[in-house]
Symmetry: C2
Subunit: 499 residues, 2 copies
């Protein structure tokens, strides 16, 4: 059935396979830059990556692609559901890429690079005034981007930025969810702090790095990671990169603490298992990609927070830890290790936050970045607004901007509209885990003996194998019977922390 529409779809499919190859190459170069590249390679690597990005952009905005999209749309009735979803995702990529002029893309890229550079000093010196002018400039350009994409996508300015990380994500929905969390967490938090009692003693190191690494590898395999299709390496900022056939996870080790690298690796392994579970028959096509940032983060948080900080899994790992590090005494008892794994505190730093306070950190950033994008606030207002909101949400005053509005790289590096996906991911993780356990009540018992097969057996068909074939909303409904809500997350917190 070689209709013009079918031929157009085929041409798109070929083009996007080529784009995907470029993305895979860029992903590997990015991994290499963080893990392997000597410092002196930075300048030429930046040129190589920029050239690949330009090639990618040119191949995507090329006049043919728009024509093919129109032609293929005319034959949409003849497409399978996956092909139709593929076409939808192709169109999304095309709109995002064509919405902006080359000049604007370059201006934002330069401004972000400059701002990120200044931010490093500003953060070190806890001096917001230093970065304020360049942040103001960057924000101006980001607002232009938001306006241009809003027009192209037919959504609000903030949602246009959000859409890049969370396809079809809408702030109206986020507002509802976050309001529910805001009504719950600030009063729940003091209860948790009161209930959790004194901090158990900390296991004492040193914890040899080689032992930590061996432990991480062992636990990655326990979760289902296949080292024939992936690696574990070291980088300053841990991440999960690579491709679905070759997942590259990184961590960093400190010899006075093993839990940071271990929990980080379990978190990234959740990301990696998702990538590995994507359907190979759709490899290289937009529909074959991970669904979006909230689903991706749900997979890492499901592993880290729902599964690996559970009493069951701590029961499994406690003897392994004692054996690996030669630990004994009260700090190494299973109950003490569990209580440390779910310890809650009013901290200032998002990346160090526990799962109870983490959403408060995110809600704060979401409210502020939305106001900044919508022009209801200026960069200069950021420190005061941050500190006031932090006091009201978390209940403690911010001592300095270094641990306040200067702590995260995101805004200074041009990533606006990303923050809410962390908490959408946490809500999704809770809802998915509850559905998985409802479907197979043996899952928790599996965790207690280090058997993740039952959990993975549910995640594979319900989430991983569906890739981007459904919208995020429909994916949640298909997997759990309902759209995203705060219900499972709140129930999970109640169960774990309010006992």
């Amino acid at each position: 059935m070689s209709t013009p529409a079918a031929r157009a779809y085929q041409a798109l499919s070929d083009r996007f396979r080529r784009l995907s190859a470029l993305e895979d190459a860029m992903g590997m170069l990015s991994w290499d830059r963080s893990v392997m590249m000597p410092a002196g390679g930075a300048a030429s690597r930046a040129e190589t990556s920029a050239a690949l990005a330009t090639l990618h952009h040119d191949l995507l905005v090329d006049g043919h692609v728009g024509d093919w999209l129109d032609e293929a749309a005319e034959g949409a009735a003849g497409l399978t559901a996956w092909q139709a979803a593929n076409l939808r995702e192709m169109k999304r990529s095309y709109i995002h890429s064509t919405a902006l002029s080359g000049e604007l893309v370059e201006a934002v890229s330069l401004a972000a690079s400059e701002c990120e550079h200044v931010w490093r000093t500003a953060r070190a010196e806890s001096n917001f005034a230093l970065v304020q002018p360049t942040l103001t400039h960057l924000l101006g350009l980001v607002r232009e981007v938001a306006q241009a994409k809003a027009q192209a996508l037919g959504v609000s300015a903030y949602d246009a930025l959000l859409d890049e990380y969370e396809p079809d994500g809408r702030s109206a929905d986020i507002d509802v969810l976050f309001s529910e969390l805001e009504a719950f967490l600030p009063s729940f938090l003091p209860q948790v702090l009161a209930a959790q009692g004194a901090e158990p003693p900390a296991p004492q190191g040193p914890f040899p790095v080689a032992t930590q690494e061996a432990l991480c590898r062992r636990l990655m395999q326990t979760l289902g990671f296949d080292f024939d299709h992936g690696r574990l390496d070291v980088s300053t900022h841990p991440f999960c990169g690579g491709t679905p056939q070759d997942v590259r996870i990184t961590t960093r080790y400190r010899d006075d603490d093993y839990s940071g690298s271990m929990m980080g690796v379990l978190h990234e392994t959740g990301h990696g298992l998702y990538e590995r579970g994507l359907p190979t028959e759709w490899a290289g096509q937009p529909v074959g990609r991970a669904r979006g940032m909230s689903i991706h983060e749900s997979q890492s948080l499901l592993m880290e927070m729902q599964a690996c900080r559970s009493r069951e899994f701590v029961t499994y790992t406690a003897p392994l830890l004692r054996e690996a590090f030669g630990g004994s005494g009260p700090a190494w008892e299973t109950d003490a290790l569990y209580k440390r794994a779910i310890r809650v505190e009013r901290g200032f730093i998002r990346v160090d936050a526990d799962e109870v306070t983490y959403p408060l950190h995110v809600i704060l950033r979401y409210r502020l970045e939305k106001a900044l994008i919508e022009g209801r606030m200026e960069a200069a207002d950021l420190p005061d607004a941050w500190n006031a909101l932090f006091q009201s949400l978390v209940g403690v005053p911010v001592p300095e901007d270094r641990v306040g509005c200067l702590q995260d790289i995101h805004w200074y590096d041009g990533a606006w509209g990303y923050f809410p996906t962390y908490t959408l991911g946490a809500l999704t993780a809770a809802q998915l885990f509850a559905a998985a356990v409802a479907a197979d009540p043996q899952i928790p018992a599996g965790l207690e003996r280090g058997d993740f097969a039952p959990l993975l057996a549910w995640l594979r068909p319900n989430i991983h194998a569906r890739a981007s074939s459904l919208s995020t909303r429909d994916l949640l409904i298909a997997a759990t019977g309902k759209p995203l809500s705060t219900e499972a997350f709140k129930a999970h917190l109640q169960r774990r922390y309010a006992v």
Copy 2:
């Protein structure tokens, strides 16, 4: 002066910078495949690399490029010497790429891949008959390639293949040089074997891999390698890859021998120093690339054979080796180490050969591949022809094809016309080293105290910084005052081996 010719040159320059970025990306992916990639990543990596290669090809044969080349040529009088050389190299790349149909490129690629696969078994079983049909098929396609390129370049079929590795290389010149070597080496070899006396005792291991690696890194730095712009890693087949700003050298270690990895690393460091010395102002342009395989090999062989197997450098390394490995006794004496470093023997394997017999291995392959390409011989004739020629050149009978015509991957992997560059490189290395020492007689004394600065100070401006601005012939004349000859090589052998 924005004439049409100047604009065309500029357009070509932009296009080739983009092509270079793709080449750099492909180079890094290739390094990653050999050094880092888990086995399960092979299939998708092959697709990624093939897609990048197709993109590269498309960007090069694109109709504009031919037009720009014609337009730029009309303004050639206004170009600087480097720009003119750049245009010449652009044209060479274009002709090589456009000479072949996409179908032929794909057919050769498939046939080579298949033949290489079968060859692995054939070599392991020493069974040439097994690979003969697929080699015959591949040879047929390679002959087609040679014919098509011969027509496009206006040279003979063999020279058309040679041109890809050795730009402007001509077999008429090689025939003269190789005939001189053939007239000299077979009678020189027995003299060397008689003169060198009994083999000195071998240092006894084990040689811990960590110690070997530390030693390799130290000696790389001694030669001038900058680890801020490069790495040393492990791979099955040692190579020098990466980019001029980020040189990736690999080796492999055996704990019963340190000299294999050490000499291999010194060899690859010669390649790496060349890449690092290319002019950054021409980075990304064809004229900024290394000149060709004979010059590249001359840089590795100059370091390995001329400098690092010299009595001066062995005098420098001997105490380092004794200290690193705790060696003492007759095997570790400087004179014994030197005699082992320049030991000559009638071996069957090219990659293990010393510098006296190596050219004989190459001449054999050159004669055979030329006859095969020109249709004067068929694949089926290979074992008999190989064994007869080996007996006449090296003076011993080949016991089995595994160590005869099945030993090298090159032909079976589609690389025809490559072999002579090894020996052209050896001749060039001798001629360059002699010129360097004539220009700065302190160079050998430098080697004796581990000081490569004088040698590098000559190589940098005379070879490295000239990149592809001159033809290989003119580069040799500029650096040594004369075109390539066998004179310096023969004098070097006489000096080192006939004492």
